[in-house]
């Protein structure tokens, strides 16, 4: 089958190639992948993977073979999946990492949801109730930013969306942001929660805005720059502030189903900012890394 694999020593760090079909384990389904999405780190750091690694994590497709354990979706069902090796004609994935797509939904655009949706959902959930809390979303025009703005505002938070330039502010107010701000230095007052997706200078700047007891979720690093915390920046009067890392997308099935329900009910708009064939991955990656995509990159696996 055709798949996009890591090539650490050549080109952009990846290329399409012919590889053997994956073999599904007893608690896995085999999927015929139709649509996938591209996350920032997958193209920026493709070279970090061993040569031949099958890349990609977010897929939508139809079940070709059900799990032999008898659990999970049946053959022919449309599913959304979060797992390794999504950029391929076939993907083998644990039944606990897929969710069946309800009938009547436009399946293609759902492929942008898995990584960003589960990440934003779990970060915000770990914060506790959001009603009445001031939530700052940095890099708000990106894929995970647009999801976080919607998830937080629909749970009653007062959302401040920060973008890097005025041209990237479009549409954020309609997604629920109460304020849309260009540059983090323009923000006045404290915030209770930060969903931080940029890293670099934005991370310590956002940290400085936290109220006593506040939580910063570091769930992206789109800047590609290190983050320098000034001397004593971790001391301030009042209850401890927390910076929480993100690394856990294990067993995402139930959360994928939750996200599908929100989309079906009109409570979550899927942020597709670029769509094309997976044959144009180079072009899509350049647009994504050049910050020219307002939302997520969706690829059709043809």
């Amino acid at each position: 089958m055709r798949a996009i694999i890591a090539t650490p020593d050549a080109g952009p760090g990846y290329r399409p190639d012919e590889v053997p079909d994956p073999v599904a384990g007893p608690s896995q389904v085999l999927i015929a992948v139709e649509h996938v999405s591209v996350n920032h780190g997958e193209v920026r750091y493709a070279r970090a993977f061993p040569a031949g690694t099958m890349l990609g994590h977010d897929a939508v497709g139809r079940v070709l073979r059900a799990a032999t354990t008898g659990t999970g979706p049946r053959v022919g069902a449309w599913v959304i999946a979060l797992g390794a090796g999504a950029w391929a004609h076939r993907m083998a994935v644990d039944v606990g990492a897929v969710a069946e797509i309800p009938g009547g939904m436009d399946v293609a655009e759902l492929a942008v949801l898995p990584t960003v949706g589960v990440t934003a959902l779990r970060a915000l959930r770990s914060t506790g109730p959001l009603r009445g809390r001031r939530v700052l979303v940095t890099g708000a025009s990106g894929g995970v930013g647009r999801i976080a703005v919607q998830l937080a505002s629909s749970q009653g938070a007062e959302v401040i969306a920060v973008v890097g330039s005025a041209s990237r502010a479009d549409g954020l107010a309609s997604l629920g942001a109460k304020e849309v701000v260009v540059g983090i230095d323009a923000i006045a007052g404290e915030v209770d929660v930060v969903v931080e997706t940029v890293g670099g200078v934005v991370l310590p700047a956002a940290w400085r805005l936290l109220s006593p007891g506040g939580v910063l979720h570091s769930i992206g690093w789109a800047s590609g720059e290190p983050a320098t915390f000034p001397v004593n920046s971790t001391f301030a009067p009042g209850a401890a502030r927390s910076l929480r890392s993100f690394g856990d997308v294990a067993s995402p099935g139930a959360d994928l189903a939750c996200l599908l329900g929100l989309v079906r009910d009109g409570a979550l708009r899927v942020p597709v900012g670029w769509r094309g064939s997976w044959r144009h991955l180079d072009e899509a990656a350049a647009a994504l890394l050049g910050r020219r995509v307002a939302g997520k990159v969706l690829l059709d696996v043809d």
Copy 2:
């Protein structure tokens, strides 16, 4: 009365001077201060305080006037106190920020406990049960480090003490450290909890050692250097890691009493590394900032 006040534009940033006696509010006690201690930041950043600010936070003395609310220690009682303006012949402090010293204790050395004791106690308490957990203490030869080593090991943790040089490792094993390591790069394996007192390059190095779900308490910054986190250093597989700031020494009375009980029962040794008259604060500060004090600086207020 005599007190040590901030002088942002002169000398080391502080000097002894004659100032009016403090006036205790209705829920405060007035203390005749006998012994005080010096915390790193109090001398390193003395210039950050407005001119005339009475410095110091940790005191032991006798109650000259009880609170008019009828609560708190009686006149003549020996107390330990955590509050602003400790480096003075008289200190007015909330009854909720003092604890009466049980009879039979050597009162002088207790003056080193308030800030470092409450800070370490509260950081470790917020982590949850410590039995069987691997706890890393950085800057372990300093005052807060020596307290943290003891509090963690006596609660069943496996404590790794990190020091900057071999000459600073003395005595840490006898305080309960299972391993004493020179330089954080020498540590193998993951740790569940970090008590981080150094900042600078040590902070991100310690962060990198955290296990999934681990917690780093940033409660000191003795290096005086900024801390640079590499790109993507907040992502790692597994449950979220947390960095927690420290800023809350509010209402420390009950925790001061807890610390006194531990000392009385032989469960906590008070880490006095330098003792002299408060007239020699300059000399003590130079030793502290030059990392020549193994533990805390204790000053006698004569």
